[in-house]
């Protein structure tokens, strides 16, 4: 278990609870909030290793962008650099035009960027309902209480009957597919502008994988959430994505719409291994 203290780097000064990032005009619930994400010339790494080297990606509002590549290509680092878990060494991260480079994960979450790390979507020691309530933590304070909270939870339970049945059970008792369902439900409750998913289909049976991908598509189409999807399952990801980006050793080697990438055999053989 990671030490909570080690994960809490002392970076920015803490705001009060009236967070300007959330109450400002480009807050998630405001009409202008579209969720476009632009990454410009991003450089990031760990110690002496440069994991991302001048990466530029544009994810249009309410689109699904698949980020593909072999292990070690920098896909996970990319998501971490966007959500603030890793501080970029150069370059910019722009959310709806506003520069959010280097902000910490708490701030980014409150600005509407939700990041689901690989294999760590839910907190296994909490119940299903508590996990959903965690989803509310990034929203303004009034959304976390009383009627608003009940409404948000009810919507999630409506959509996912299985979760309604297990609401008081520990998340640890859920199967892999059910956990991903909980992850998607939590994203629904959090209403982010941008959702970063790191290998959501990892370890799932093919049929469940398909269901998860369907849920991801619905999040984008029905709720206008911009999705950045890192996947080893390139075929599945390109099937639902609008655009695709292929990383290799920290650089972008291909960026095109998903259909073009899926049809490009040479690219697939070279970088994606099939």
């Amino acid at each position: 278990m990671t030490s909570p203290a080690a994960a809490a780097e002392p970076t920015e000064p803490t705001d009060g609870d009236a967070d300007p990032a959330v109450d400002a005009p480009d807050a998630p619930d405001a009409p202008d909030a579209k969720g476009s994400l632009v990454i410009e010339d991003l450089v990031a790494g760990y110690g002496e290793v440069i994991a991302l080297n001048q990466v530029t990606i544009t994810a249009g509002a309410a689109t699904i962008t698949a980020v593909l590549g072999a292990n070690g290509a920098g896909k996970t680092t990319l998501l971490r650099a966007i959500s603030g878990m890793v501080r970029p060494r150069a370059g910019r991260v722009l959310l709806d035009g506003a520069d959010r480079t280097g902000r910490g994960p708490e701030e980014m979450a409150r600005a509407g960027v939700a990041h689901v790390p690989e294999g760590q979507g839910v907190i296994a020691e909490l119940t299903v309902e508590e996990n959903l309530r965690i989803g509310l933590m990034s929203r303004p304070a009034r959304a976390r209480r009383g009627a608003d909270r009940a409404a948000a939870l009810a919507e999630a339970y409506d959509r996912f009957g299985v979760l309604a049945d297990r609401r008081r059970k520990l998340a640890a008792t859920l199967s892999g597919g059910e956990r991903q369902m909980l992850v998607i439900a939590r994203a629904l409750v959090a209403r982010p502008r941008v959702l970063l998913l790191d290998e959501p289909s990892l370890g799932l049976a093919p049929r469940i994988m398909t269901q998860v991908m369907d849920m991801v598509v619905r999040l984008s189409r029905e709720h206008g959430i911009t999705i950045v999807l890192v996947e080893q399952n390139a075929r599945g990801a390109l099937a639902i994505a609008d655009h695709g980006v292929v990383l290799n050793l920290g650089r972008v080697v291909a960026a095109a719409d998903a259909a073009t990438l899926a049809a490009d055999d040479a690219l697939r053989h070279h970088y994606l291994g099939f």
Binding site: M1, T2, S3, P4, A5, A6, A7, A8, E9, P10, T14, S83, M85, G104, P105, E106, A109, R110, A114, H115, V116, P117, G119, Q120, G121, V122, I123, A124, E125, L126, E130, R133, I134, G135, M137, S138, R139, R144, R145, A172, A190, G203
Partner: protein, 295 residues
């Protein structure tokens, strides 16, 4: 038989003190994966503050309240000023820092207040209670001690379980990464955890000091027993802290009572014996839950 009852009751009362210290250690352990070796020292310091307030105002309860408030403040201050810089560095740094903090606090107490033993008032009568003509071995004050710690424990447990702030603290303790990515300010949560631990320590301090007298080292052995109770119960378990504290209190009471020697050497030896036995049979502590494995 009467003796057994007396030893049991007085052991339970003392055990609640150990439970309070154990709980404060568990709180900090779960939040920061650190053992706060200065916990006893901080409790001693807040008790000195309480004594000052009692002297100035003549009111015991004013001193009691100020001690608890000072515990909150001291806990938060220690986290912000002393512990926060050690985060992310080797764990040994933090251990040395908390020991250093202990030495600092005890030194300051000696400078400000001197080393002589001072008496500290008890909230209620310390005359032994009787059931009919049988002495029970505990006084009204001892009952108050047990109830106070019990109330604090239940309030904390309810807070963790039912409030949003409690949910944030549990989320941060179980998985800080997911908590941060959900917008929870884990750093702030940790400070609150330390503040609450400071409160529990301060409570233990004012409750035990009437028996031990107040001097810069007065909380040292209490801390050691509280620490032992926490380890016996399982450092991750709040229930374990309470059960461990009560168990230790009762067994030490029997040791002191039946084996005759009231001296600290024998009780320390018995405590060590319990620790060794428990760790041999259940290395993670009695109440350690099954480890949740991440696949």
């Amino acid at each position: 038989m009467v003796e057994f009852l007396q030893f049991t009751l007085s052991g339970l009362s003392f055990g609640m003190i150990y439970a309070a210290i154990a709980l404060s250690l568990v709180l900090i352990w779960r939040g920061t994966r650190l053992l706060n070796f200065a916990q006893g020292g901080m409790a001693m310091f807040t008790t000195y503050i309480a004594l000052e307030v009692i002297r100035q105002t003549g009111s015991y309860w004013a001193g009691f309240a100020v001690a608890l408030a000072a515990g909150l403040v001291l806990g938060a201050a220690a986290e912000l000023a002393v512990i926060r810089p050690a985060i992310g560095k080797p764990e040994l740094n933090a251990v040395i820092i908390t020991i250093g903090l202990l030495i600092l606090i005890e030194g300051l107490a000696g400078i400000f207040y001197g080393g002589q033993y001072r008496s500290f008032p008890a909230a209620f009568s310390v005359i032994g209670l009787r059931a009919g003509s049988t002495p029970l071995g505990v006084s009204r004050f001892d009952v108050f001690v047990a109830l106070a710690v019990l109330a604090a424990t239940l309030l904390l447990a309810a807070g963790f379980r039912y409030t949003s702030a409690g949910l944030r603290m549990r989320a941060a303790a179980f998985n800080a990464t997911v908590a941060r990515l959900s917008g929870i300010r884990v750093a702030r949560v940790i400070t609150v955890g330390w503040a609450l631990a400071g409160l529990l320590g301060a409570l233990a301090g004012v409750l035990v000091t009437p028996s031990t007298f107040l001097y810069p080292n007065s909380m040292d052995s209490i801390f050691v027993f509280g620490f032992t109770a926490a380890v016996i119960g399982g450092l991750d378990s709040a229930l374990g802290a309470v059960v461990g504290g009560l168990l230790l209190g009762v067994v030490l009471s029997y040791a002191g009572g039946y084996l005759g020697a009231q001296g600290s050497d024998l009780t320390a030896l018995v405590a060590l014996g319990i620790l060794v036995v428990v760790l041999m049979l259940r290395p993670d502590g009695i109440f350690a839950g099954a480890r949740v494995r991440r696949v």
